[in-house]
Symmetry: C2
Subunit: 159 residues, 2 copies
DNA sequence: TATTGTTATACTCTATAACTATA
DNA sequence: TATAGTTATAGAGTATAACAATA
């Protein structure tokens, strides 16, 4: 059963270099594709003075008004200590607000402002377009399949 | 046409938190899956005193005897300056050898030793097993589909 | 006691610039 | 003049430990 034609032996193949063993590891493959997309996203987000991580924060805050920092850190799988400066900046720029929660004065409710929500929407559209530079090579079926399969892999986060 | 049943609205969903906009961006999704796999690979490689990057180097050198550092840097898409200490360590541990190339004395031919090749093989097997902790949720078809689709996305590196 | 936000700090990764020896 | 390997260094990104306020 001869495979259609697909990749002859393996990946890279710039000047006869092979990475056939690495090529069979998904971690390696995922990273390579991610590293193709990441700089594109970075570039378009920078046009709005956003980094990938601050855009992610703004996006989740937009979709979850009233979320607190430890929940946000949890959602983005990062340390809450590293969130502080990011949240500070988003607040200073008037993209989000921090509001005391009366019932638990340790926590602050984070909410996106109108400006923040609009910026999020514009930025998200730009990132989507940027991603298409890479994704463009896929037809609709492949795109759906990829997202579905990634979804199955993401299921177990807590383990 | 109602989709089978799949993900209700979006991702995370730990405590009502939604990331529906981010969820539609593949960069975000790829990173999340990669970040699930990476620590597992890191852990098993550490058992052999290897980091992900040093394992990658050892693996490519094993498969490409005589490769030189700048080619290796190119294959792994990293700066050649950052390769130096890694190559140094692999050589000190007797996993690879550096040999002057008579025709161009600026370059050194890198070749894996027998020990290096064996370590690579053992380590690769471990990583494969570790990845299965995540990949296990996929059937064979999905696994093939994922690798095929990633292959299509990787095609354009030079652009 | 435990948790939230915070600060300070360390550690890893990656990027850049400059040097040397060769070509 | 350009390239391979090297060095040193700077900058992100991430992780850890400890603290004050609050629960």
């Amino acid at each position: 059963m001869p495979k259609p034609d697909e990749s002859p032996d393996s990946g890279t193949e710039k000047k006869g270099i092979t990475d056939s063993v690495l090529f069979s590891l998904i971690g390696y493959r995922l990273k390579r594709v991610y590293m193709q997309i990441q700089p594109l996203a970075q570039r378009v987000l920078a046009e709005n003075d956003l980094r990938v991580v601050s855009f992610s924060c703004l996006s989740i805050i937009t979709d979850n008004p009233g979320i607190v920092q430890s929940e946000l850190a949890d959602a983005l799988q990062m340390e809450r200590s590293n969130l502080v400066v990011i949240i500070d900046e988003l607040e200073e720029r008037g993209l989000i607000t921090r509001k005391k929660i009366p019932t638990d004065r340790r926590r602050y409710a984070l909410t996106a402002t109108l400006r923040g929500r609009h910026l999020r929407d514009r930025a998200a559209a730009k990132v989507r377009t940027a991603e298409d530079e890479v994704l463009g090579w896929l037809d609709e079926d492949d795109r759906d399949r990829l997202l579905t399969i990634l979804g199955r892999l993401e299921r177990r986060t807590a383990r």
